[in-house]
Every structure is written in structure tokens, then in C-alpha cells.
Homo-oligomer: 251 residues x 2
DNA sequence: TAGGCGAACTTGTTCAAACAAGCTAGGCCC
DNA sequence: GGGCCTAGCTTGTTTGAACAAGTTCGCCTA
């Protein structure tokens, strides 16, 4: 059952997306929304807090909230599953496993997956295409405990995320993403049909279960121009962190 | 005066950073924290919600919260001001204006800055260096109403953000960031001391006042390897949105 | 017309109670 | 040891009251 505040947030989100309120326009006051939705002021506050977290509305003490934008947000699941995302964008998507092998985790992998160095992990190389064009190369390392489930998937499995949920009830709940730019290496270039040295958008990510158990650590490389990441922030909430690299040209 | 919940969040954040709780460890219950901080349970919930939004803790109904990570977050101001960020990282930073000119806004700029095409804007080309190495090229377009204040800044002004605040009380409150990878153009290559065509991490961003008025629209290009962007997300809150590009190789 | 003032409105914070929905750990049984 | 059950604990939701801190707008005066 959807919580009331989530339902109210959903209705307000739709009203914003529909154009009931222009960008820059004011929302009704909390008191008015409480009457309109037959809810308490606290519940309304929770609902608009959800929208604020999505960057759709902004607020100042004493002034009515304003609409900041109309861009549709994405659920965690949609971001996590390339296939789900692409389909919701209306694109034809395919995915293909090129390599898959168990091996011992190196120190970095072990740290990321809360394992000991030398523990068994499953490394998968996967190519994703949109409209027949290769756009994403994923080098994913799965913790050993999930390896059997991954190995049982077909090589052309479209949505690994969904298949793992349906197959073994695996749920992803938390993610950390590191985004930078790298030059295409030899393998990248061959598989993504680009020149060696050309720019790739790299997203390294680790994904974790609701209990806090890391499942996968992945190095994803997008062809430049194929994908853009978008983030909204504010003085109240800044999810984006800039970290210094090693200040030498990347290899 | 800092709100109580913000103070409690700060203390809990420090305890986490200090190692009082390992990654994966449980936090005390809300009831215990309420006693410890002499606050109501509602206030404690607000405090831990702040930490959850930073990706430091995760929660499941009925189970104690767990520590997800120890990475320090950044304030909005720190992310926005390259100089402030670099200094807090302990790096020597310089900034230099290479070009600065008023001109008419094109359609894209006008849309981003809530202006009409043809309205006057100020375009500034700025180079940022860390430890004497050029790492960031900013092409920033300021709305006309803030142009005089920007023009009055010295060419080697380190922190434009701080100077605008001190000079005219300008406050930034909201941001939108588009992150992708592009190939260095001729000017990029010359100014950042890289080969033409080599990868750059591009961050296009628009920044807005508390009243919702856009101030600047900037195309920032980082040398590959100099900076990584980090974002945490969860099923409860996903600030990261993947958008499709135009599926053709970038120029 | 512009500026100042104040009342009314608006959002932000804190507290508390009550209930719902889930987790955890101990005890018991096979 | 493993599975099941349950009491107690824990987080999630909703309501509401009271107060703080800020904004907005109408009115008045120079």
C-alpha cells in the first residue's frame, strides 16, 4: 500500500509534469494542499520533501514553493538496469556476454565487495547496444555468492537485474557511482567500434543489497555522445561529490 | 542558529567518520539516540534522514540502521566553487580569465537562463589549474543582470563564487549538472595541454538563485584523470538520471 | 511614485502520541 | 543443526499543536 505522502507526491509530480504549474511558478501553500488532499500539514510536508529531493521544487522559509524544473526523474531500478532504461526511452536494446570467468578477487575488488583478496569472484564482460549500435561495455565483477545465479543466465539476457530478481529474489538497494572520462583502450575500441584513444564516459559502480551486502563492482564505459548523466542539487542537499584524480593524463 | 536535527546529524556524521561505527555496523536505535541527544524521536528521524540523503546510512523498516560508507560529502558551495573545493583538498589552485565579452544570447543560452534570445549575456572563458597544471576550462555564460558584478572582478580572481557573494550578496541555491565525455577540440587541447581528440570530462551546469532565477550556464571541461564525480543513490532516493545522447560519435 | 511599516500568510522546527509494518533473537521441537 | 513461532524491539506513517523565522502585500506618508 502506497504511503499517503508518496501518493500526494505522485499527484503533485504529475501536475507539474502536465504543466499545471510552469517552471518558476508557485505551488499552493501547505495549508491549501492539506485541505485539497485531506491530509495533515506534516504529511503534505513529507510529500513536497520528496519532490524537493528530486529537484522539482525549491523552497524558502516564508515564501511559497516554486517549480524548478519538469525533468522526469528515474527510479533506482531504472538507472540500474540498462535494458529497462533503454526500453523506457523507446529504444531497441540488446545485451551480449562476451566473456565470463571465475577467478580470485584482487585487492581492489575484494575491498569493493567486502571480500578477502583471493576469494572467488565472477568476472563478466558484456556489450550493450542501442538500435544495433554498440554503446556500452560493462566489466562487472560479481561476488562469489551470487556467481551461480549469474552463470545460469543466458548469454543474451537482456536485463540481468530483472532476471536475478526473478531467479533468486535478489534486490539491489544502494549504489555508489564514480563518473569520469577515459581514453578507449584496445579492447574498448574494438568492441565499441571507436578509435583507440577516443573519449569514453566511464561509470564505475558498486551495488549493494538492502542488508548492506555488496553484490557487484562494475567498470562501465559508454561511447561518447551516447549517454549523459544528469544530477540536480541544492544548498539543502548536494548528492554530487567532486573528487580529485591523480592529476596525470589517463592511460 | 543550527537546527537541532542538523546538529545531531553533524555529531552522528563525525562519529561515523571517526570510525565509531564500521561500515556495515548498526547505529543505535532511534529511541536510544533520542535519549542520548535529549531530543524527540521525530527530531532524531530528521537527523538520520539527512545522513541517509548523504548515502552514509541505510535503513529497513524494523531493522536498525547500518553504516553504508564513510566518504565525506560536499556542501553545495564546495562543489560550486572550484577554488574552495581545491583548497579543501589541500591543493594549490589558480584561476585566470582568458576572454570576457558581452554578446547576445543564442536560443540555447536564452532557454537555460530564462532570457529571450538576443538578450545581452556575458561570456567568460576561464582556465583553472591545480598545482600549476591546467585541469579545467570553463566557458561560462552569465545572465546580463549579473554581468557588471562579474566584469568588476579581477582576471585572476580565485573564487568567483565567493567574490560575487561578498560584492553583491549573490547567493546560489540550486544547480543542475549534465555530465558526459567529449573529445578535446582545438581550443580545449591548446589551453589544457592535451592532444586534440583526447578525452575530456564535460560538466554542463546551470546555477540558480534561491528565488529561482538562473544566474549562469557553464560548459566546463576537465582533463581526463583530473577529477571524478561521485554519487550515491538508493531505492528511496535516486538523484542520478541517465539520458540518451544523440547516438552519433561526438565531434 | 517610492519607501516604510505591519498584519497576514508561509515555510521551518520541535515535540508527542498512536498505530502499522517489519526485523531479531530466543525458545522449543524435530 | 534447522525450522518454526512469538515477544519484544525497531523503523515507517500520520496526525496535530505550538512556536520560530521569514516573505508578501496592502496601506499610508513623504
Amino acid at each position: 500500500m502506497t504511503a499517503r505522502y508518496a501518493g500526494i507526491a505522485g499527484e503533485l509530480r504529475e501536475a507539474i509534469m502536465r504543466g499545471d504549474y510552469d517552471v518558476g511558478a508557485q505551488l499552493p501553500s501547505e495549508a491549501e494542499l492539506a485541505v485539497r488532499f485531506a491530509a495533515s500539514r506534516g504529511t503534505v510536508r513529507q510529500a513536497v520533501a520528496v519532490l524537493a529531493a528530486e529537484g522539482l521544487v525549491g523552497s524558502r522559509q516564508g515564501a511559497r514553493r516554486i517549480v524548478l524544473g519538469r525533468e522526469r526523474s528515474q527510479s533506482f531500478a531504472e538507472l540500474h538496469s540498462f535494458a529497462q532504461w533503454a526500453r523506457s526511452m523507446g529504444h531497441r536494446v540488446t545485451g551480449r556476454v562476451l566473456e565470463q570467468r571465475r577467478r580470485a578477487a584482487d585487492a581492489a575488488e575484494a575491498a569493493r565487495l567486502a571480500l578477502r583478496p583471493g576469494d572467488a569472484v565472477l568476472r563478466v564482460l558484456r556489450l550493450r547496444s542501442l538500435e544495433g549500435e554498440p554503446v556500452l561495455l560493462e566489466r562487472t565483477v560479481y561476488a562469489g555468492w551470487i556467481a551461480p545465479a549469474v552463470e545460469s543466465l543466458p548469454a543474451d539476457c537482456e536485463s540481468v537485474t530483472q532476471a536475478l530478481y526473478e531467479g533468486v529474489g535478489l534486490v539491489f538497494a544502494y549504489g555508489e557511482h564514480l563518473i569520469d572520462a577515459v581514453a578507449a583502450g584496445t579492447e574498448d575500441a574494438r568492441l565499441l567500434s571507436v578509435r583507440r584513444g577516443s573519449p569514453l564516459l566511464r561509470q564505475r559502480r558498486v551495488t549493494t543489497t538492502p542488508e548492506g551486502r555488496p553484490v557487484e563492482w562494475s567498470d562501465d564505459r559508454y561511447r561518447a555522445g551516447s549517454v549523459t548523466f544528469s544530477i540536480r542539487n541544492s544548498v539543502d542537499a548536494n548528492p554530487l561529490v567532486r573528487q580529485v584524480g591523480d592529476l596525470r593524463p589517463s592511460s
